[in-house]
Amino acid sequence: MTGRWLGRAATDEKAAERRLGLWLCAPAALIMLLVTGWPILYSLLLSLQRYDLRFPRDREWIGLANYGAVLTDGFWWNAFWVTVLVTVVSVAIELVLGMLLALAMYRTLVWRGAMRTLVLIPYGIVTVVAAYGWRYAWTPETGWLAGMLPEGSAPLTERAPALAIIILAEVWKTTPFMALLLMAGLAVVPGDLLQAASMDGATAWQRFFLVTLPLMRPAILVALLFRTLDAFRIFDDIYVLTNGAADTSSVSLIAYHNLIGGLNLGIGSTMSVLVFLTVAAVAFAFIRGFGISTPGTQGGRG
């Protein structure tokens, strides 16, 4: 008797929990669905068609032919590997630099408020303008950085220097994003754990690597995941600095040229879908490989 009563109460509780969960998620889910549902579906459908906006009469379904055309094209793969290079290098630098910045922002004994604010300024500046700033800085004669290089060199016109400048601009701009997420992660590491460790004789390095970092793992992985997803879609910096000259195009830039410049909705959408699939694969790798548990796979009522 009591057992059944307890059982029913438990079921009611479960049902209430489900209802509550659904209600809480509803606004977010609804907005995301309404705003991006049709556009994403439309893009997918377009990638299966031959559709140039200027020749609407030639529109037709061609299955995966667009994918074949893009995946066998030299321009695409060039852009792809450039994007991979820029992503890997810049995210790696940003992780280390971001951690250093996070430590500085969090632990500094002086000017704490000012530090935390100033560090965010690069991230807060309009990207296009920051990119223009870098462009002028590296233009011979006009810029102060160009003046430090040997006479006659124009770094933005050659592939390797241009890529280095792009990575520099990207790292400068988005490291604060990492730093902020990492600092929030630092903030939840309990101070007394570190105290206990230091009383046990651990050095600062050991405290950092054996206590702080493991406790920060969720924050690090979220920061890495989102930063990588964003880095792969780099656009503004390259658009302003070189517009893809000297083979420095990224996948987003080449998709833009085809979709908006060439008005080739079929090819452009195909590129978008391919970018999405790559990014999704990266996210999947993070989630499975690094063991970042998706929110919701643990926790709850203990």
């Binding site: 004994l109 807060g124 004669e141």
Partner: protein
């Protein structure tokens, strides 16, 4: 940690390096904004001839001022709503069990990952059909949408770290679930909330793609977009001085916003609920 003069000095040096990293390129942009146009190409970091005409010029431009107003309004509203909806969803994802949880997480990642340039044209058509084109909601809705994934992920990962026992203890003490949430969870989740609020606001404030494509007049056009409408004195001239001046001006509200909120990032710890 003891505050010996040596430690203070060490931190001061470290801070200085950080500040240099963050500010030198910004100072370069500021310097370009103060440079007299005739000396624009002289390659020096500090302007040889100073002028304020770039700044007076942009404030004489009603479109730019209106753009600032739009940016502030749209940014604040989008951030507020995104944090509200995002926290609700993050709590559900972190704490509760319900069907479709993984679908929601996957879908929000999908939204975060799909290249936005492909979404602009269909979104434009939808907004025109609904009459939302060139209006505040026309920008607010996409901004909320693209801010939600990061919000949900960050906040749910924060909320998951907070032990469920804390809420239970508060409820046993007689608090309603809502009170338990507000008094126990919110302070602990504050670092995450403030962080995402800052990042969301910056995203809304600096977005260019949607601001350009989903507006056609200064009714809803935000400040970064108005920058690309500045006139040079001829069709080929980039009004670089005005652009840099506008960039400096556009950055100031961000600085204020962050200054205001950065204190709260660590305030949650001092409430002491985590101990024990």
């Amino acid at each position: 940690m003891e505050r010996t003069p040596r430690m203070v000095a060490r931190w001061a040096v470290a801070d200085l390096l950080v500040v240099l990293y963050a500010l030198v390129p910004v100072l370069w942009i500021a310097s370009l904004s103060f440079k007299d146009p005739a000396t624009f190409t002289d390659g020096s970091f500090v302007p040889r001839r100073w002028t304020l005409e770039n700044y007076s010029g942009i404030f004489d431009n009603p479109a730019f001022v209106r753009g600032l107003v739009n940016s502030v309004g749209i940014g604040l509203i989008s951030t507020f709503i995104a944090i509200v909806f995002g926290t609700m969803a993050a709590y559900a994802v972190a704490r509760l069990d319900f069907p479709g949880k993984n679908v929601l997480v996957g879908a929000s990642l999908l939204v975060a990952m799909f290249p936005q340039i492909s979404l602009v044209s269909p979104l434009f058509q939808i907004e025109r059909a609904l009459g939302l084109f060139d209006t505040w909601p026309g920008l607010i809705l996409p901004y909320i949408t693209f801010a939600l994934p990061l919000t949900i992920f960050t906040l749910s990962s924060f909320l998951r770290e907070i032990p469920w026992e804390l809420e239970q203890a508060a409820q046993l003490d007689g608090a309603t679930p809502f009170q338990a949430f507000r008094q126990v969870i919110v302070p602990l989740a504050m670092p995450g909330m403030v962080t995402t609020a800052i990042l969301t606001f910056i995203f809304c404030w600096n977005d260019f793609l949607f601001a350009i494509s989903l507006t056609s007049s200064d009714r809803a056009r935000t400040a970064p977009a108005t920058i690309s409408f500045f006139t040079g004195s001829s069709q080929f001239e980039d009004p670089a001085g005005s652009i840099c001046a506008a960039a400096v001006v556009v950055t100031i509200p961000i600085v204020i916003f962050v200054l205001f909120f950065q204190r709260r990032i660590v305030s949650g710890l001092t409430s002491g609920a985590v101990k024990g």
